[in-house]
Point group: none
Chain length 240, copies 4
DNA sequence: GATGAATGAGATTTCATTCAT
DNA sequence: AATGAATGAAATCTCATTCAT
């Protein structure tokens, strides 16, 4: 099952990794399109590394090009603008996300629990790609941020995946019927994001194992239909 | 009880609000100290508004000065550097935070629940000050961000407050003894931050009331000692 | 009779117009030479359109290639450099110019008058080709402009044509003997250029018909030998 | 009487000329506004020099700042954008223009003749300011040039001045009644501009004295009411 | 304390040109 | 011949900072 952090990274290559090679090891002639794709991947990987380290605004397009092993001019030439590059990276970060949320089949509650597990495990690897995602996400918080629409879509899709899972669980009686699917979606995604962010800000000070255990308790205690559900939610508290 | 969002805001003043006046209505001659404080508050409020709107890096010191109703030069003159202003604002955002977390006295579980309530209520006001806090916090996510130390301290203090409260609750039997105070602290702070952030990114798409209700369920179901606690947490899951 | 504005324009073709076709309708295999010429014409026409719209420096070679219906790279590939393209266009603009100024035969004064007529008529068509000529000519005004030599030659040839015509007229007694052929050449070319330029800058505000009528009066009143020539030019005014 | 070329030029100063000095020769403390004005004048003069030499697009703002004896950044800082600087220069070039066209009083035909004299004399000085004006004017020829509106206004004002003068002359019987004031305005302004431009492009090849003499003949022969006016303009020729 | 002119480093962006396909 | 990827120099513009008022 997938979590909310991308995987692809071609590493901190200092020179553009040459593409497919013939049997003999001599680099095969690449087509224009291959060159393009190769460059794009290298540039996005480089951007992710630099964004993770210094942030979006503190990273120049020239640095991205050079980190990718190309020229100072390529990043802008390829993407047309910095905004386009950032958006492209944000979109790529999304791709791996929700994929597979639904196809767990059997037990939806267990699916949620293992999603928590996988998500936080991905964060604790500290791959740089994860931090890059959070950095770009953080850059979408200003009210007028051009990036905000990207994450409006992204977050909604993530929440929808959770919500669908919860409803399925309720249908299959693996999740307590009283749960509010939409509320659970927001709270669970928030729980993961907020916990991960704390770890990224202070890896020393945050015990991600302990936090993960509590996160799973939150979910299990609240959604497991086999638990005795005494004194149910007081409805008046729903009013904020 | 206070949550993690600042309150003070002198509004989008287009000219510096004049300070204390004498009884007679004639403006009393303000001391240098008063003028300084006045200017500082106006500048920080202006910075918060602009950061909330456009982000830290997209806001210039000159704009801060003018938004505050002063000159283009004042922000730098007053704080000495942009980094100093940002840090100052981050610190001010902290001030109101954890203060008072412990002095609830009576019922610790209820204290946690009302903290959730208050925190999200503060967010839903959408005061700009709240968004400013999150924007600056988001700017602290890059690994080499100069701001990171500020939020290492801030977050730790917030978590410590929660942790102390949980331990006190366990001592007073208002919180289930099996709970892991440190884990709960991280998870709860994460829950609030992550939920709030989703709302700030997509106020339309996130029902904060429903999310708040689920957040409180998470906490009540997990920490309320009066609930039957069947099939306790599987310890092997603590390993990430 | 021709004036100083080019005629050829293959229109805003979005794809390269295919060349000559065989009788059967199946496109004949064009020779390299033909393709070259075809491409060159399309590129120059495209350049003229873009120069007329945005100016020489604000037009990129890539845009020229695409406007011509070819690739971004062709313009440079074909001409070798931007300077070469511009000079080539300037030269082509000259081609149609003075040609035929002398072979009017009969009445030289009438020839001058109809030249005025034709020149301004060409301008009022507002074909884009005309404006392109003036734009490039305007780009030759800076003292160190690389284009200046091109127009030194061009203008001189235009003036020479006029001068020859005036001398012929004086020989044939169709133009007043007292006229200074060189002076008339400069003044007449200036009159046409300056009038046309005003129209190009402000087509709404300039009545080209009225201006043309006055231009012709200038010439007729000054050069017609049948008019009574009272109080002739005071020679002392020739000193500037 | 004024012509269409500016006069002010503080020379190719390599360091900012210091402003007003006290009696003792020690530079007086300048006010902020004095500094501003001083800088603006120096920058505009520098821009005019460079534009005259290399053209608008081939001159960078950094060069303007340094030519003016200031920093690379000042030109942009002061004017906000290159377009603003160019427009400002165009406007300044206008200022001296039409001023005084009307207050000749006495004899309007003579006023026109001496205007021609003065205009071309200004051009022949080759002051650089004149060429700068023509260079910027030439840059306004492209259809979408941002500068075009500036010269729409400028040229119209110049023509209006001439037209008013012609009408006054007709009222005072110093200019032939049959003349079309608007047509004369366009033709006369065109005559001056076009003649001057030819000289600027090829000072060697153009005899400005001879051309000026012919220009004056054009005007005198056409507008002098004391000349016998035989075979008046054929009206059908007004149609272009 | 406060203003705003001036600096200069650095960012994005454009683009002629070169090079590989 | 033609395409388009890639380079790198140079432009405009932004802005924290410095300096003079």
């Amino acid at each position: 099952m997938s979590s909310s952090t991308p995987r692809s990274d071609s590493g901190p290559a200092k020179s553009p990794e040459r593409g497919p090679t013939e049997q003999g090891g001599r680099p095969r002639r690449r087509t224009q399109e291959e060159r393009r794709n190769q460059a794009e991947r290298a540039l996005l990987d480089a951007a992710a590394r630099l964004f993770a380290r210094r942030g979006v605004d503190q990273t120049s397009l020239a640095e991205v090009g050079e980190e990718a092993g190309y020229s100072r001019g390529l990043a802008n030439h390829h993407f047309g603008s910095k905004a386009a590059l950032v958006e492209r990276l944000a979109h790529r970060s999304q791709r791996d996300f929700v994929a597979g949320l639904g196809d767990i089949g059997g037990h939806e509650l267990r699916a949620l629990l293992s999603m928590i597990q996988a998500y936080l495990a991905g964060v604790s690897e500290n791959s740089g790609q994860t931090r890059a995602f959070f950095v770009v996400w953080g850059a979408a918080l200003p009210a007028e941020a051009a990036l905000r629409p990207v994450f409006v879509t992204d977050d909604a899709r993530f929440r929808d995946g959770v919500e669908v899972l919860v409803r399925a669980g309720q249908a299959h009686r693996t999740i307590r019927a009283e749960a509010d699917p939409a509320g659970v979606a927001v709270a669970l995604v928030g729980l993961l994001r907020g916990t991960a962010a704390q770890f990224l800000i202070d890896p020393q000070g945050v015990d991600l194992d302990a936090a993960g255990a509590t996160c799973k308790q939150f979910v299990r205690y609240t959604l497991d239909p086999t638990r005795a559900a005494t004194n149910e939610a007081q409805p008046e508290e729903r009013k904020l």
